[in-house]
Symmetry: C2
DNA sequence: ACGGGATACTGGTAGGACCAGTGTGCTGGA
DNA sequence: TCCAGCACACTGGTCCTACCAGTATCCCGT
């Protein structure tokens, strides 16, 4: 048996290699061009037949590369479209997809998702409270008013308005990572708890309770009381979902209640 | 001009459609099998030539589907390997990649990443403090001791030991989403600040300072003082990176200091 | 019994072919 | 002159065949 050389940190200096495949070279070159800004949103890639010439590979290889880029949310191909694939801009779609895949593969449960959501959404609320200006404050208040109206319509409309409210708040945080993670965890939590809850829709009492709690931390946001707003947002999540969790899971969540 | 019908929430009821492509059907069927547990890590997919029979599509289509699955971290193909592609288990690799893409595409700066890291890593530290058992505590303390030793060796060894310490702590939090996000933001922050800092490596004083600060919140962890540990961890990040940020960026970060 | 080569697979790549769309530009009619 | 409408060039989507370079297995000869 041969011994791999070791670095000073004590870890093997050799890493497992994977054979370099032709399409990976195509992917990385195009990716690099996008990351470096040589290709920006709206730009068009050459056609597949052009690319096979430029890269010196077959069309199948080019297509595999384009499939990967498309699956990563970097480009989009449309049949019959002159000019080749379109370069897309930033979107939380890929991040959301990756987080969802991670959660489903790892058998992430509702409790862990709610925990994560308490952290990221709470922080987003705090930042929104401390940093909002007139226009973003107006957007949040308008979204809240829309929730009030929707509560009298249907539970679906209320749910949609609720989503809009959370979006307005997390957008106001000014941190796109936090808002993307908030968005993901909100969707995923809704999805996971839908079997138990969504069937019947939120009953009116629950909608009123949600309105009251959201209103409470919106007040804290208006008053620029960041920590209190975060506290209330976390408490809101805890109370809303706590009933469906086990005692042990609730105990974990309680750790995060105090901010 | 025709008007799209609107739902009660006031948003268009029509969503943009994309033509369903054959490979997408293959991807979704295999994905579904993996998510539902019918395929678990280590299982083998049929060979490409078998799959083209089972799905009734050409080999090129099967290969495009396999490339997408592989790029999503769900499977891996190896030439000459009987049994077809291997189904992989959960890994933070794909999530890290997606977050990295998101950050690079969105021109996410160091300040925003550090902000995100203060949130997720701080919460992970708090959970670790409140929830650790003997073995995980021992792992964290061992990692800290390794940092002390490595500080006398080289800045590379110290950096590696530092990473191991953070890994031990976030693993102890028991929330894989938080630890994956911590891991990503740590790597990304290191990457972004490397041009300025890594060139010369951390000077010994800075290593000692890091040791002192990490030691401080490790003490809080040992004492199960979750909030204080989180506070110290956030402060640690703020102090370590604050010097490289603008006044405006520091002001944002200060919002998150108090927990 | 055992070593080594033939064999039957695997994925990686190339190249050709056809189809259904989409724009564009040209042509013919008003 | 202007415009409607058709032909054409080109796109991506899909299929097919073929070949190569690996790997694992099995069987045969020693």
């Amino acid at each position: 048996m041969t011994v791999a050389p070791r670095s000073s940190a004590g870890r093997p200096a050799f890493t497992s290699i994977t054979p370099v495949r032709a399409y990976e070279g195509v992917v990385s070159q195009i990716e690099e061009a996008i990351f470096e800004g040589r290709l920006v949103a709206g730009d068009r890639l050459p056609s597949e037949r052009d690319l096979m010439g430029q890269f010196g590979v077959s069309r199948g290889t080019v297509r595999e590369a384009l499939r990967v880029l498309e699956s990563n949310g970097l480009t989009r191909s449309r049949p019959g479209d002159p000019g080749g694939a379109t370069v897309l801009g930033q979107s939380s779609g890929r991040l959301t997809k990756a987080l969802t895949t991670f959660a489903r593969l790892g058998q992430i449960g509702a409790a862990e998702l709610i925990e994560f959501r308490m952290v990221v959404e709470g922080s987003a609320v705090r930042l929104a409270a401390e940093l909002h200006d007139e226009s973003s404050l107006a957007a949040m208040e308008a979204a809240f008013e829309a929730m009030k109206v929707a509560a009298d319509e249907s539970s679906e409309a209320f749910s949609a308005a609720d989503v809009s409210f959370h979006l307005a708040v997390s957008a106001c945080s000014g941190n796109s990572l936090l808002s993307a993670c908030s968005e993901f965890s909100r969707d995923m939590v809704l999805h996971l708890t839908s079997e138990n809850l969504r069937d019947s829709g939120d009953p009116p009492e629950r909608m009123q309770e949600t309105l009251r709690r959201h209103g409470a931390y919106l007040h804290a946001i208006v008053a620029r009381e960041g920590r209190r707003a975060e506290q209330l947002a976390r408490q809101d999540l805890f109370d809303y979902y706590g009933g469906e969790l086990t005692e042990r899971e609730r105990a974990r969540l309680e750790i995060l209640l105090m901010v």
